[in-house]
C-alpha cells in the first residue's frame, strides 16, 4: 500500500499507455475524416507480428519497424479499399479485420516458425531505451521521461504533431471538413477519397508503431492475440478524447495510470477481478466529467445546417 504512488508508477503508466496512445491517435485521425476504425486491434496485432518476424530475419530493429509499418499499411489499405471503394460497413469491416489479423498471424506463426502460442528467441533485438541527454540529468523528471523506448517518444511527438497538423495546417482543416460535412467538402473539390486514404494510412502507421512497441518495446516476442483487446481500449481512448490528440493522450494516460494502479491495488484485500475492473470503471466515471461534446454539437449542427 505504501508503494501505491511512487515513481515507478508513472514510469509504468507511460509504458502501458504508449501502445494505447499510438493506436488511439490512429483511431482519432480516422474519426476526423468520418471513419470509425474498429480494426485498430487487428492492425496492432499484424504489426506486432511483422515486427518480430522481420526482426528474426534481419536482426535489425529499424528495418523491422519499417517492415511492420509497410505491412500494416497494406492491411489498413485493405480496410480503406473495403469501406471507401466497396462501400462496406465500417464496423463489420473493422471487426472482420480483427478476426483476419488473428487468423493470419496465428497461421503465419505456425507456417513460418513452426510454433504455436508464442515465438521468441534470444537473438532478437528489442527496441533500445533512449536516455535523453538534458532531461536525463534533471532529478525526478529525468527518471520519468528519460529511458523510454524511441517509440514512446514518437507517441508524444505524434500527439503534438497531430495536434499542430489539425489545428494549424491547411490540410488538417480539410481533414476536419471531410469529417464534418463530406458533401460540402466534395462540392469544393476536395478529394474525399484521397484524404480518407491518407488518414487510413496514417492510422496504419500509428497502429504499427503501437504494435511494435508491444512486441519489440514492452517485450521482445510475439504471442498469439498479444494485443489482448488493447485496440478496443484505444478506441475508447479515441472516443473519450473526442478525437482530439491531446484528449486521446489524456484518455490513454488515464487508462495507463489506472491499469498501473490496479496492479498495485492487488496487494489490498480486494478480489483481483475488481481491481482489474478499475480502469474500465474509472473510464466510465471519467465520461461523466468529460461529456462527449462532439456528439452534442453534432446533433446541434445537423439542426443548423439543414434546410
Amino acid at each position: 500500500m505504501e508503494n501505491l504512488f511512487d515513481l515507478s508508477l508513472i514510469n509504468s503508466t507511460i509504458r502501458m499507455m504508449a501502445p494505447l496512445l499510438l493506436a488511439g491517435l490512429g483511431g482519432a485521425i480516422c474519426a476526423r475524416v468520418g471513419i470509425f476504425n474498429v480494426g485498430l486491434d487487428g492492425l496492432m496485432l499484424i504489426a506486432a507480428f511483422i515486427g518480430v518476424a522481420a526482426n528474426v530475419f534481419t536482426n535489425n530493429i529499424w528495418i523491422s519497424i519499417l517492415l511492420a509499418i509497410i505491412g500494416t499499411m497494406l492491411f489498413s489499405l485493405l480496410f480503406g479499399y473495403m469501406i471507401i471503394h466497396l462501400k462496406a460497413n465500417m464496423i463489420v469491416t473493422g471487426i472482420a479485420l480483427n478476426f483476419l489479423a488473428i487468423g493470419v498471424t496465428t497461421f503465419a506463426l505456425r507456417t513460418i516458425f513452426g510454433v504455436q502460442g508464442a515465438y521468441y528467441n534470444n537473438e532478437m533485438v528489442g527496441l533500445p531505451t533512449w536516455r535523453i541527454p538534458i532531461i536525463d540529468d534533471i532529478p525526478v523528471v529525468g527518471n520519468l521521461l528519460s529511458g523510454q523506448s524511441p517509440v514512446v517518444y514518437l507517441g508524444i511527438i505524434a500527439t503534438i504533431g497531430m495536434y499542430i497538423f489539425l489545428k494549424k495546417s491547411v490540410l488538417g482543416s480539410h481533414y476536419d471538413a471531410v469529417g464534418i460535412n463530406q458533401v460540402a467538402a466534395k462540392s469544393q473539390g476536395v478529394k474525399i477519397k484521397t484524404i480518407q486514404y491518407q488518414a487510413i494510412i496514417i492510422s496504419g502507421i500509428l497502429c504499427a508503431l503501437g504494435g511494435v512497441q508491444l512486441s519489440l518495446g514492452q517485450v521482445t516476442m510475439f504471442s498469439e492475440n498479444m494485443t489482448g483487446g488493447r485496440g478496443f481500449i484505444a478506441l475508447v481512448a479515441t472516443m473519450l478524447g473526442q478525437s482530439n490528440p491531446i484528449g486521446v493522450f489524456l484518455a490513454g494516460g488515464l487508462f495507463g495510470f489506472t491499469e498501473a494502479i490496479s496492479i498495485r491495488l492487488q496487494g489490498l484485500n480486494i478480489p483481483t477481478n475488481f481491481t482489474l475492473m478499475l480502469p474500465y470503471v474509472i473510464t466510465i466515471l471519467a465520461m461523466f466529467v468529460f461529456k462527449d461534446r462532439t456528439q452534442l454539437s453534432a446533433m446541434k449542427n445537423s439542426q443548423g445546417s439543414s434546410r
Binding site: V170, S173, D176, A177, I180, A184, S187, G189, K300, R307
Partner: protein
Amino acid sequence: MLELRGITKKYGEFTANDQINFSLEEQEIHAVVGENGAGKTTLMRMLYGMEEPTSGEIFVHNEKRNIDSPNDAIALGIGMVHQHFMLFPSFTISENVVFHHEPRKKWRYDREKAVEEVDQLAKKFGMGINPMQKIADAPIGIQQRVEILKVLYQGANIIILDEPTAVLTPLEVKDLLNSLRDLVKMGKSIILITHKLNEVMEVADRVTVLRDGKVTGTLKTEDTNTEELSRLMVGRQLQKKELPEIDTGDSILEVNNLNVSDSDEKSLLTDISFQVRQGEIVGIAGVSGNGQSELTQVISGLLKVSDGSIRLNGQEISNQNVRDIRDTGLSHIPEDRYLWGAAKSASLLDNMIMTNYRKHPFHKKGILNFKHIRTFVADSLKRFNVKASSIDMNAQYLSGGNLQKLIAAREIQKGAPFLLAAEPTRGVDIGAMEFIHEQIIEKRNNGDAVLLISSELSEILALSDRVLVMYEGKIVGEFDRENVSEEKLSLLMAGGTYE
C-alpha cells in the same frame, strides 16, 4: 461565354435531362425555372462537375470542355451556390469562404490573412458579415451570403445559384437580388434557379423554362410575363383564389405572456400573446431567425416554456409532451421537411401514418392494420396529388415538392381543429404551392384554426385573415386582412417602427 449542347442525363431508365440546349451571355442573369423535379439541379450539377452527362457537350468561351470535378469547374471560373448549403457549421465564416483555397504560409493555414481577405471581399461586394463568426451561430441569410462569397473568393465569373431565395426573408431576397445586379455590373454572369417568377421578372435578362427534363422555352424577360412562364412550366394556366368570408368562432389557440429562454437564460421569445379562432388563418410574418422557429417548437411541444401559458382547445398545453399536445388537437406542418417532417429512408407509408398510427382503425391492440393503412395512404396520396411510383418507395426519392405535399396531406387529413403550418411551401414549385394553399384555405373554411408561419410575405398576404409581425422574439404588430400592406409589414419586420 457558356454553352450547353444536347445535354442528356439518365439515371438508369429515368431521363432527368433530355437534350438540353442552354447558353449564357457575358454579364447576363439567366434564370432557370421549372417545377420540382424538372431537372434544374441536375443540369447545374453537370455544369459544376458533380455529375457526368450521359451525352452532350459543354463549351466554355467557345471551347469544348470536359468538366469532371468541381475543381475543373472552379478552374474554368464556374462557381456554384448549392440548393442545400455546403457549409461547415463548426468552422468560422472566413474559414468557410476560403475553404480549399486557403491563404497559407508554406503548409500552415494563415487564418489572419483569411479573415482579412474575406473582410475585404465582403466589403467590396457590400455584404455585411463577421468573418470570425461560426457558421453554426449565423442566421440563414448570412449563411447564404457566405455561400456567394465563397464563389466570389474562388474568382468565379460564372455563378450558379440554385434556389438561393427559398429560405430568405423578403428583405434578404431584395438584398440578394441587388447583390446579383451589382455582381453583373462587376462583370460576372449568373445562372439563377428559382421557383419565384416575380424574382425572375425583376432581375433576370433571359429565362429558360424546363419541364420534365426538357427545355420548353428560352425567352427574354422583356418579352414575357409570369402567366406565360407559368404555362410553360406546368403546361396549364394557374388561377388565383379568394378567401371567402366566414364567421370566426371560439378561439382554439390562446397564447398568453409566453416567454422562452435558452439554456443560457437568453430570451428567445418575450411576452408573446395572441389567439387563433375557428375559421381563421393567422399569419406570422417575420424575417427568419426572429423567433418563428421557437414559437413553432414551443407550441408543438418540442421546446420548453419558461413562463406563460398556451391553451389549445381549452386545455393548457405548455410543457406537455408532443404526443399529448397532438392528441389535444394539433396538426403541424414543420418548417424543415427533411429534419422534422419526414424520415428519408422510410417508406411513404411509414411517413404518412405518423399522425395516425396510434388511432383506431390504424391499429388493433398495438398491431398495425395494414389493410386499412394501405388504402388510407394510397387514397391520401392520390387526393393530394403526390407523384410517387409506389407507397413503399423511400421518401428520399420523392422530389421536395411532392414530399411537402405528403406532409401537408398527413397533417391536414388528421382533421385536428388547429393547424400549425410553418413554411408550408418553402422551396416548392407553383403547382404544389397552389395546391397546398388551397388545402389550407379549405381547412379554414371548414371552421378550423390555422396559424401560418412563413417568411414568404406573399404567402402571408395571400392566406392570412390576420397578420402578426415578429421581430426579435416579440410580436411587434398586428393587421387585419383589409388594412395590411407589404410596405408596412416590411418595415416592422426589419425592426423599424411604423407611423
